[in-house]
Symmetry: C2
């Protein structure tokens, strides 16, 4: 914040004024308040009117006072002070979770306020209800901050790339996961250790489950899939694997093969429908998505006219997210949001879905398989036979003689085990699943097989 | 074009219609016409109304008919058919050069049309006149396609990043130059040979001067500097060096040092003003801008709230540029352009410039110097002394014994010359210029010194 170069808010004679309220003064809310209060010159310049912070509603007045020093009369713990103030026309609704966020948003819209929100879980869960209600009431909901933090991907997909039928979106949409995987990759640290470090640094919540198990990325992907493909997706139906089970050894083998592993959210439109998935994926070193480090997010969109467009920026954090919220507040104050909202009919329950989610079993791709196998003659032949029977051809194999070990937990603690890594050529997900199960049934294979997707 | 998945334009009962004209059916104009005609479903969905191509004005009807098959009555060689048709409200003005493009744009606006254009030279040269006139007339000019082709950088800077004071923009803005430099770098080919190849492939015009001498990049940078920093810049005052003098040997040495050379356009806002320049620049291998290949463009913007945001996409070509034009046509039809145009007062001659262009002599940076020097004792000492006297400290030196040569064109054809490459620590541009001149005056130095900037 100290680096912001701006002047405090001023009222300029004859300049229109938009009265704004913030509901929820957490990390992002505080950032938004600061930008509104300290940088009134720039928001006025971009909005053509003064962006005036009139109320900030919090649950705990004392906690809020410790975070930020607001002008007299702005801070309140009464939502009614916003609801009953007709001069407040735009509200940045920045509380997380589903309830009371949902009810508050409905009440605000019913009292005539346009909404700006960062709450992707709420939109992923209750999008159709909230957006239908907004349309009935003639209100708008702007949600740039709900996906990819500071990267303006919502505006880019909804407006800037509107000449295109998008063909695919590939994104690193969860900064926490990417931070953890980057650290594991760079320093060879175990998962649990990096999570603890991420929590110390503020990159992971006390309970990071939603971030590391792929839920957060799936919710964001559901929103993007709606904007890009007109799909109406229940985020919980998106096949997802998190990074919580990732073993550093896979990062190491991937690197030997020329890849990095990232938690990748994918939406691909094919002849047979829309492929959606969130999973740790091997990406070729040197390609832009593979090189996204730490808490950064990135999205690669491919349109049939524009070709590939790549976006990279901070996917979370106070000021990047506040940047997106302020852009939405300005768009709403200027009137652009209303036009976009009326035109695009986001999440309308009346519009039929334009794309149908495809069964992942039919999706084709390449796979990385890691097995722990008996160091015996015939092992590789047995494995190759299983793959061959399933019509999966092998692109490359790594087997290091030196890493042979005994596994005291094995049912056969006397036999030597070696890791075996196989990169396959293209196969369907269904076939890969079946072959994996067959491999796990082989006498030569110890325990379960690690299977990861490969892109590029 | 064959890959476009869309349905032809349809008029839907009760749906509003925006009548559009295209003036100029060159490469981009043809692409725009095709998207309007063949993909009416998607433009209608994004615009909430039918985007109807009513007229396409060309100079040569026969040539146009060979390029594209238009519906009866659309093609004309009379601009008056557009001027005198009050139902046409938006015009994609896609003719290049300054005149008659300027006069035609004025006439179109005077007859009540909003304008969409891709003509960066026209805006860089006559921006204030055209935009002031548009405001007087209550019209708008949209110009997304004028910079970086398919990358929607205009909307992103003007709207999506509006919470930020931008601190810097660094861009690869000329696809032709980047194609040429990438090929020289990858294959070690001489400049002239790659230019011929680029012309064969359609990446360079018959006369590529404006692309390769930095003019095109400087004009685009002037537009971006206005949007991002409120600077009113005469593009011709931006210090610029093209790639037309680039020697493959410098690409090779740069690579040995861990860098690639790119034609980089830079705008940096500092305490003392705005630094603008276009020059071949060494960029650290592995950083996103260094890895931009062939005809791609990229821009790295740093905002004080959002941090760094990186954009990468196709900077030219028929469909990427048409994608930007169509997005502008939709924004204009929906009404967003008008709101933005009224609010931001682009290129207003009444608004004082918010940033002053800084004298490049004061700008600090690192430099790459390549000298051809006598293979004598004392040479390195003499050179090091000059740099030391100018307070320039040396970061690294490359001198290969094996490359010693005789130069038959030298005034002293008997002495052995060796190439010497020096990377400096930070110094001001003015100091580097003075030191270079002093070095060129040394007896031990043959000919002129190659001096390039280094970033990152």
């Amino acid at each position: 914040m100290d680096s912001l170069k701006c002047s405090p808010v001023v009222t300029i004679c004859g300049m229109e004024k938009t009265n704004i309220a913030i509901v929820g003064l957490g990390t992002v809310g505080t950032g938004v308040a600061r930008l509104l209060l300290d940088c009134g010159d720039r928001t006025a310049r971009h909005a053509g009117r003064t962006m005036w912070l009139r109320k900030a509603v919090v649950r705990d007045l004392e906690k809020a006072r410790q975070r930020i020093d607001l002008p007299e009369g702005v801070l309140t713990d009464s939502l009614d002070e916003v609801i009953n103030d007709p001069e407040i026309t735009v509200v940045a609704q920045l509380i997380g979770g589903l309830e009371p966020a949902r009810s508050i948003m409905l009440r605000l819209m019913e009292s005539g306020k346009d909404i700006v929100t960062a709450n992707k879980a709420l939109l992923a869960e209750h999008g159709p209800e909230l957006f239908d209600r907004a349309r009935q009431l003639g209100r708008s909901i702007a949600f740039e901050a709900s996906v990819a933090g500071g990267i303006p991907i919502i505006a880019n997909i909804s407006q800037c790339l509107s000449a295109n039928q998008l063909e695919s979106l590939e994104g690193i949409l969860n900064g926490t996961s990417n931070f953890i995987v980057s650290q594991m990759d760079e320093f060879g640290t175990e998962y649990a250790e990096v999570v603890a470090e991420a929590q110390r640094l503020g990159y992971a919540e006390a309970d990071p489950t939603m971030d590391v198990d792929g839920t957060d990325a799936a919710q964001k992907l559901a929103i993007l899939a709606h904007l890009a493909f007109g799909a109406t997706v229940d985020w919980s139906t998106i096949p997802r694997v998190g990074i919580d089970g990732l073993d550093p050894v896979d990062l190491r083998y991937a690197r030997q093969l020329g890849y990095r592993i990232k938690l990748l959210a994918v939406a691909t439109l094919g002849e047979e429908g829309l492929e959606l998935s969130v999973a740790p994926t091997l990406l070729k070193i040197g390609t832009p998505l593979a090189e996204v480090r730490n808490a950064f997010n990135a999205i690669r969109a491919v349109g049939d006219a524009v070709g590939p467009v790549f976006y990279h920026g901070l996917g979370a954090g106070q000021m990047p997210t506040a940047s997106a919220v302020i852009a939405d507040l300005i768009d709403t104050a200027v009137g652009r949001t209303k036009l976009t909202f009326q035109t695009l009919e986001y999440f309308s329950s009346e519009n039929p879905a334009r794309a149908i989610q495809r069964d992942t079993a039919n999706i084709r791709g390449r796979f990385y398989l890691r097995l722990s196998v008996a160091n015996d003659p015939g092992t590789l032949a047995a494995i190759a036979n299983v793959l061959s029977r399933n019509s999966i051809s092998i692109a490359s194999v790594i087997q290091h003689e030196s890493e042979s070990t005994l596994d005291p937990n094995s049912q056969r603690p006397d036999r030597e085990l070696v890791p075996l890594v196989i990169m396959t050529h293209e196969a369907s997900e269904g076939t890969a699943v079946a072959a994996t199960a067959e491999l796990e049934g082989l006498d030569a294979v110890e325990g379960s097989v690690t299977r990861l997707r490969v892109k590029g």
